[in-house]
Symmetry: C3
Subunit: 110 residues, 3 copies
């Protein structure tokens, strides 16, 4: 964690921004680069009776870090995606509780 889970943006685009973006997120979150994961979901989107291009969306799953870090995180992801040509960037944070997150069977609140 943080985990970036991506819909509607190709792995190629995410690959292209991944290095510099993660370097910036490391500074913002003050945690090691290998805590970050970027997963592009395979989805088929439909609308109005037909298949459509998937709307770009990034869900960030993390432990709550507060509004200052969250704002900076959102801006960093948005700027890199804008620079890569993604026009509209929507992004939401999903909070995991440390007590409900387990690494090799041990809760992160233990």
């Amino acid at each position: 964690m943080p985990q970036l889970v991506v819909k509607g943006i190709s792995p190629q685009v995410m690959m292209g921004i991944s290095k510099l973006l993660v370097e910036e997120l490391v500074e913002i979150c003050q945690c090691a680069a290998d805590n970050f994961t970027i997963d592009c979901l395979s989805v088929t989107s439909v609308f109005g009776g037909e298949t459509v291009t998937t709307y770009p969306f990034v869900e960030v799953a993390w432990f709550e870090r507060g509004p200052v870090i969250r704002d900076a995180f959102a801006r960093a992801v948005t700027q890199h995606l804008h620079a890569a040509g993604v026009v509209d960037v929507e992004l939401a944070f999903k909070v995991y509780e440390e007590s409900a997150y387990y690494i090799n069977g041990e809760s992160c609140s233990a």
Copy 2:
């Protein structure tokens, strides 16, 4: 938003109901049709030592709108899926906080 994220129901089925369903959801939520997205996830399900048909499930990601709208929303999705031949429909709402949802870098609570 709202985003419908679907498992175990084919894009063909979702395509077939998408037009009338979204028209109904527009009335229920009093928001524009282009706020809605319908994404079918690609998943492989397993059970009892073998691969199985994925159990139909819809997760609705949205900002909380209260029980009256939520009930109506759930009934609308369920009725359209029943009519399309999906026998058992399970559906859950996942709430995003406006303060943790960003459009082009700006928080929706800003």
Copy 3:
């Protein structure tokens, strides 16, 4: 529910552990086996400018059952995955509210 949603672990591995794991989870949760689903997501992961192996991760979507059952659940999943050769197992619980979970149009809190 509970739903196990899996990234970075193959359907083959999940299939291999699914029978005994679910039997154990049935005891832990005191609910019927057919409440459980195991869905492996299709994802492409990127990091450092290239595609990478997806980091193993299990999200458990459920109604809150408290820390004792949660700990036992996490340990059971972790032990079966370790035995199947998955070295690092991260797992998080996502809580659905009963009032926001609908089966065939009826809320589970109704």
